[in-house]
Symmetry: C2
Subunit: 431 residues, 2 copies
């Protein structure tokens, strides 16, 4: 039987509240089993999933071809189609990413803090899984495998809403994952999709208080905004990146050229790519020509303020809108500032608090930048492209949190856990 | 000049959106100063606050007398009036609580994790303040001083909404605190009240995304529910406590009697007091008579299921509603269960995930209880009254979180911080 037979599209179905609640109850029940599963059992399940993804590569690519065809028919943008596409090579990459997570330490059961009180009561704060983690995302089938694997390793059940554009692909991926889970003795409901419930299902997921312990949105700014404002379950905002690099007066030219080029050009469509360059006036004449020339040679359009244009005329005029734009393309906004304070003020006003980097040889300025810029990741003399769960050594990543509650920056396994206080006494009462 | 002259009541004023935004901007600006304030400066401010609270004890008690009189006139319940009341003695207790926080370690700047990547890039995850912390609470002036002191020590500005019943008291407290801050060179706007903006101010605070980094509700279940469902800013739910104690088959009689009595009678109006007792059938005949007799002697009404009533007739019949009730009074629901599984199932269904304790001498049952009960604090052979920031050694507490995101259980200083990744390179780019 082809896995495709299990796949339905959502459009024709009315929302079935009873069936939806059943899914969430199954997820809760699976979460209880996963919470006490050993690392060995969870790793065996991940290995089975990686194995089965490769075994079912044809089914997965065939389902993906359907989604791609529908996407082209409905005029999906090229960038989204590229994200949606799964070649056999990309399916192997997915399987490799799952195997990478086997090697990462299991955070569950770790002691975060502990002490014995004067009365002999022993306190221990231990890491525990959240329980049921929800994810709402768009047209990114790799997220299905990544989040499922991270959630399993950290002892959580997941309920996935991957969006209509990738519905067939995700249905097959989830079906493959569930088969692997069943074979290793873990509940199939550990990983479920609610794509079959359509938009109503996504709306219900956002309000499933008491069933969903954590909801992570990944995708466009609009999708994230909707999830953040409409959810009553706890949400971690993963964010858009209006990312800044500051070229300080003392910046080395070679580092400035290489880091800005890497941060803009290596992969412009991702959130850790730089969008705005701020240059100290005293270094603008020295640094802007080589830095911007290298970018122009790679096809980057420079959106420059008047002072930068005067130094580097091969640019278009920047408007106020440019400072607030996450281009996700070969475009860069450039502004000349008179002081480090002016640069920090600009960042305060326009940053999405994702990543900012300063290129400098001035220790005092580096320290001020690191202390005063309020972003998830602040850097000195390094490319903003390093803000990434893989680069940080977390294995895959759930997303990059731009909020301050619970997790900030790339989210790996520990960020998918909560804690619990364990108190052991011998008859103590409070005086 | 009496501090009372500064105090207005909210009822007559229309909501002034501009003035409200100004407050939030002042809070943000104060937060920037506090974020880099040294521990020595913050401690000096706390000492000044403690000093000034005692110096202004008469003003505080006079303002409180107004609030109490108005409360009595509007028929406020005795329990609320008791929480609202500030005697000179209680003002001294507030000042002592502020001084206690001086002695607690400052979490800001602590390194949570760190490593150097193979390419030489150094990563460090450090604790930083949230920024602006909001608090919405009711008729508890002690919360004003506690949260202000905890927020200051952890480098956060606070915006307080303490409710109309305590409005004059809180206005004087905030005015005293602001005077002490000004004297130590910290911004007065580090601690502000928005009581003057009435209910509209509370509603705006819940939606002040980008201005408020964390909002903590404290008070009735209804208040907490409103804040959780209506807020678009990140919230930590502090919760109601339908707290359980399980008497296992092997429970020691003396521990059972003392712990249940302590957990119910010592202070029945608080969230860590026990509300439901579950007794293993094989121990019910042995344990219920002495345990319940001791409670009856202290005036506790026993709401018993049929099997418990058969053993201890001096009780009233329990209904389904009793299992879900946080009495906060000298009432206790009692049920006989046949197995530990039945006890855990009961807790799963009715617990608010605050605190649960088992009295047992069976190691296997203790371990199962600790692992399978999904509450902020799980205990063996100890009174549930220990779930408390003071008892845990945190100084005062912001509240007791019953959610899993960011903080769980009593919240002290580290729970008022976020983290930030600091990345130091020497020209590295991503390959």
């Amino acid at each position: 039987m082809s896995l495709l037979e299990n796949v339905r599209t959502s459009a024709a179905d009315a929302f079935d509240a009873g069936a939806f609640s059943d899914r969430l109850r199954l997820a809760q029940s699976a979460a209880r089993t996963l919470a006490t599963a050993t690392t060995a059992v969870k790793n065996a399940a991940l290995e089975a999933i990686a194995h089965d993804l490769i075994e079912h590569v044809d089914d997965i690519v065939a389902a993906n071809a359907h989604d791609l065809e529908r996407g082209r028919g409905s005029g999906l943008a090229d960038g989204l189609l590229d994200r949606l596409a799964l070649s056999p090579r990309r399916v192997h990459d997915l399987a490799d990413a799952v195997l990478d997570i086997v090697a990462i330490a299991d955070p569950v059961g770790e002691t975060a803090r502990g002490r014995t009180l004067p009365n002999g009561v022993h306190l221990e704060q231990v890491r525990v899984p959240f329980g049921v983690v929800g994810a709402i995302y768009e047209a990114r089938p790799n997220v299905t495998a990544d989040i499922a694997a991270l959630a399993l390793k950290s002892g959580n059940a997941v309920v996935l809403r991957g969006g209509s554009a990738a519905e067939r692909t995700n249905a097959v991926l989830v079906s493959v994952i569930q088969g692997a889970l069943a074979r290793t003795g873990l509940p199939e409901a550990s990983v479920q999709t609610i794509d079959g419930f359509g938009r109503a299902g996504a709306a219900e997921l956002m309000r499933a208080r008491g069933y969903v312990d954590l909801l992570v949105p990944r995708g466009s700014a609009q999708l994230i905004q909707t999830v953040v404002t409409e959810s009553t379950v706890p949400v971690i905002e993963t964010g858009a990146g209006v990312v800044h690099i500051v070229l300080d007066e003392s910046a080395r030219e070679d580092w400035a050229v290489e880091i800005v080029h890497n941060a803009k050009v290596q992969r412009p469509s991702v959130c850790n790519a730089v969008e705005t360059l701020l240059v100290h006036a005293a270094a603008a004449e020295r640094l802007l020509p080589p830095v911007l020339q290298a970018l122009r040679a790679s096809g980057v359009t420079i959106h420059a303020d008047a002072r930068a244009t005067a130094i580097f005329p091969d640019s278009v005029p920047a408007t106020d809108e440019d400072w607030a734009t996450e281009y996700m393309s070969l475009d860069l906004a450039v502004r000349v500032v008179d002081t480090l304070d002016e640069a920090i003020d600009h960042i305060r006003r326009y940053s999405t608090h994702h990543t900012e980097s300063i290129i400098t040889n001035d220790l005092g300025n580096a320290d001020r930048f690191l202390a005063e810029v309020d972003s998830a990741v602040v850097m000195v003399n390094a490319s903003t492209r390093f803000t990434d769960g893989g680069e940080f050594g977390f294995g895959a990543e759930v997303g990059i949190s731009t909020q301050k509650l619970h997790a900030r920056g790339p989210m790996g396994l520990p960020e998918l856990t909560s804690t619990k206080w364990i108190v052991r006494g011998s008859g103590q009462i409070r005086r």
